[in-house]
């Protein structure tokens, strides 16, 4: 990443990895690299928060280490775990040995199961660490991340503290389903990823679905933008508009008109109530039932 010396080169590098970063995103990625701070990307689902980490990994050729968060995630799943069964077997085969020898034997790296956070820190070459949907873990588990994000080190009582040999590039994503702790936010650079403008969404569509005619991409972006203006339960995300573009291509649609929109609305919207509402609002001709 040594060549990432300014936001413009970053933007180009990300673009070649298939990610269209706006000026702000590029700036924040640049700062994260310069300051060695994690990025906290927040925003609605499916606007490319995770994709940002993937693109950074691809653009820099680094390995991606991913920690998917969920309720109930604990140390054993995030940091490391002792391979309990292997230890038991070891004890049984070594029966008759003195405890002192044995203890030194079974608490070694051979018996350590690396989980994503430890893996990212112990990796000899720099990695991109993606901590996905961090808002899903409980507040208590969040504290676990603090040591890692702060000093890039992990303490295993039996082995001592392991520090990162190389500094990982860290991206945390959050769907904002709950307020993250101040302590965590303070350590991160904050990046709000919202829905793109019509113009940018068109560009994204064109880069992700290269076979798409330009006129149609524009039209799709406009329809999606109009739908996002209608208050629905789950507004269509960028990934859904890409899906829609692919669907329309597969159906060999020439012009996106009301009829075809009505017929394929279920690709964009995931609730029947939303589909009904949007059809009504955009006065689409739905098929007679």
């Amino acid at each position: 990443m040594s060549e990432w010396t300014n936001p413009v080169t970053i933007q180009t590098a990300l673009r070649s990895a298939g990610y269209l970063a706006d000026a702000r995103t590029a700036q924040v990625v640049y700062l994260a690299e310069q300051l060695g701070k994690p990025i906290l990307a927040e925003g609605p689902a499916g606007v490319g928060k995770t994709a940002l980490a993937l693109a950074v990994a691809e653009a820099t050729g680094r390995r991606l280490v991913r920690l998917q968060c969920y309720e109930g995630l604990d140390e054993g799943k995030a940091l490391y775990e002792w391979n309990y069964h292997k230890q038991l077997l070891r004890i049984q085969t070594d029966e008759g040995k003195q405890w002192d020898e044995l203890e030194g034997d079974i608490f070694t790296e051979d018996f350590l199961l690396e989980r994503p956070l430890l893996a990212a820190i112990r990796s000899p070459e720099p990695v991109v660490l993606l901590i996905d949907e961090v808002d899903r873990v409980e507040v208590e588990t969040e504290a676990l991340l603090l040591e890692v994000l702060d000093a890039f080190q992990v303490t295993v009582p039996e082995l001592g503290t392991m520090s990162a040999r190389t500094r990982p590039f860290v991206v945390l994503t959050s769907n904002n389903s709950r307020e993250l702790s101040e302590a965590l936010k303070r350590r991160c650079l904050f990046l709000h990823v919202g829905y793109p403008s019509v113009h940018r969404e068109r560009d994204i569509l064109l880069s992700r679905v290269p076979e798409l005619p330009e006129e149609m991409a524009k039209r799709i972006a406009e329809v999606v933008a109009s739908i996002r203006n209608i208050p629905v339960r789950k507004a269509p995300s960028v990934s859904e508009s890409i899906d829609w573009a692919r669907t329309l291509l597969a159906l060999a649609v020439q012009h996106v008109d009301g009829q075809i929109t009505a017929d394929t609305l279920h690709v964009l919207l995931k609730y029947q109530a939303d589909i009904d509402k949007v059809s009504r609002e955009l006065s689409l001709q739905t098929a007679e039932e």
Partner: protein, 481 residues
């Protein structure tokens, strides 16, 4: 620079955005790495280090514009393209006015720029429009809104919009598509572009205000409460929409907190018999302790919401809350009342649209018995006769309302009955505490029977209520998974 930065941080704190000292240091650190001449870069650096909440973004942007608002001189080639040179009109420009010819000139140029969506041309036109049409007077103590109104009014936005839509549709016609969707898209596109122009004009006016009066004075007049501090009783339509966006995460948070609690609570006491039987597999070593599942009681949540006219805004909000909670939990029953009461749970089934649900409640639910003014006494009476089975010893009852009873019988004994049977009775009042018991409010008479009465005038207070009070009392709601 550093002094500017601390002043700016102070301003952010004044607005209500929490900026810690560490974050100011981070901002200073980040600024060392960016080109200080590049406004976007400076903005991004400051925003990423000092604003950690998407809700505060707009307030931050405004403050940033006020403090660091002096933009680079305009790239002028586009200005010359559309109309006479700027030198001529600056003389009479700032004094206001602007002849009708000027206006129509501007109008035509604007139609052209909007049709192509040319950003540079739009900024230049915004500057010219403010020059000629706002009648900007230095030192005059009016807010930016006044000037904005003047400019947009004189430009005749409605006509602008219809011209733009026509133009867009004509372009579409060439492609051979023509249906209602196309029209709708053209209208939306026109609105979006005019909105962008409006933002430009606003920014331009702001820039002039700051030049005239200095950043501190301007930011003081522009300060607006953050979403979480808006008064729920008197929120505007836009504000309510912003508030609504915040309610769903709150309900989700409630749900995730609950389910975490339930999961943790699943380990009960040690099951000795099963543990020993398991140990036989390991030669008698007690490796794998077994636990008895804990008995989970399933308390319910019962919401009684006053939806009378005086509560209209707040009622919408409580209904939204009920709707959000109803989507997360299965054992919630919701009732709405004015002077009659009816169950509204069925309208809030998962998948139902909120607006649709509200419309159905207005049409189908029997909320009015007599005159349509709130009558807590009658409502409570109906509730205890018709729906009393909803209340069980494991239910928490939450009543939302201002307890303004129009001087009618209070029906306290009915409330006492509910309080007796329920596990907890909580009251949320959207009025400021100092107005309780004034006029026809009988809050303290009801309050005496409740386990807790809470002033909830803002989202912040609601969050506190949910976190501290509701969570401790409404244990074991069953999340819909």
């Amino acid at each position: 620079m550093l002094i500017g930065l601390t002043d700016f941080a102070d301003e952010l704190r004044e607005i209500g955005i929490p900026v810690s000292m560490v974050e100011v240091l981070d901002a200073a650190d980040a600024l060392r790495h960016v080109d200080l001449g590049d406004r976007t870069a400076v903005h991004a650096a400051m925003a990423a280090t000092m604003v950690k909440n998407a809700r505060h973004q707009d307030a931050f942007d405004l403050a940033f514009d006020v403090f660091f608002g002096l933009r680079p001189p305009p790239p002028s080639p586009t200005t010359e393209l559309h109309g006479p040179a700027d030198g001529a009109d600056t003389a009479e420009g700032s004094s206001g006015g602007g002849s009708p010819a000027d206006v129509s000139d501007l109008f035509e140029a604007l139609v052209g720029a909007l049709a192509t969506g040319d950003q540079h041309a739009l900024s230049a036109l915004a500057r010219r429009a403010v020059d000629r049409l706002s009648g900007f007077q230095p030192g005059r103590p009016v807010g930016g809104r006044y000037y904005l109104y003047r400019v947009m009014h004189r430009l005749d936005v409605d006509r602008l919009r219809s011209r733009l839509v026509e133009g867009l549709l004509a372009a579409d016609d060439e492609l051979g598509v023509d249906d209602e969707l196309t029209t709708r898209l053209a209208v939306d596109t026109a609105d979006r572009r005019i909105g962008a122009f409006r933002t430009e004009v606003e920014a331009e006016i702001l820039r002039r205000l700051v030049q005239d009066r200095g950043p501190e004075a301007v930011s003081q007049t522009l300060r607006r409460p953050l979403v979480e501090d808006l008064d729920l009783m008197h929120a505007t339509r836009e504000e309510l929409a912003m508030i609504a966006d915040r309610i769903a995460p709150l309900a989700r948070r409630l749900a995730s907190r609950m389910s975490a609690r339930r999961r943790r609570g699943q380990h009960g006491r040690l099951d000795v018999r099963r543990t020993i039987r398991r140990s036989l597999a390991h030669g008698g070593a007690l490796l794998d302790p077994q636990w008895k599942p804990r008995r989970i009681n399933k308390p319910e949540l019962v919401m009684l919401c006053d939806v009378s006219g005086s509560m209209a805004t707040f009622a919408r909000f409580t209904m939204q809350l009920t709707y959000a909670i109803g989507h997360q939990f299965s054992n919630v029953r919701a009732f709405a009342f004015i002077d009659g009461i009816d169950e509204v749970t069925r309208f809030f089934a998962p998948g139902e649209d909120f607006e649709h649900a509200m419309a159905r409640i207005a049409e189908e639910a029997q909320l009015i018995r007599h005159d349509g003014h709130s009558d807590y006494g009658t409502a409570l009476e109906c509730f205890t006769t018709e729906f009393f089975d909803a209340v069980t010893p494991s239910s928490t009852v939450i009543i939302t309302g201002d307890a303004r009873n129009n001087y009618r019988p209070t029906g306290e004994e009915r409330l006492a009955k509910i309080a007796d049977r329920a596990r907890a009775l909580l009251w949320i009042n959207p009025e400021a505490k100092r107005y309780w018991d004034t006029g026809d409010s009988v809050m303290s008479r009801y309050g005496a029977l409740c386990d807790g009465v809470f002033e909830v005038r803002t989202l912040r207070q609601l969050e506190r209520f949910v976190e501290s009070v509701a969570l401790s009392r409404v244990k074991g709601l069953v999340p819909i998974s």
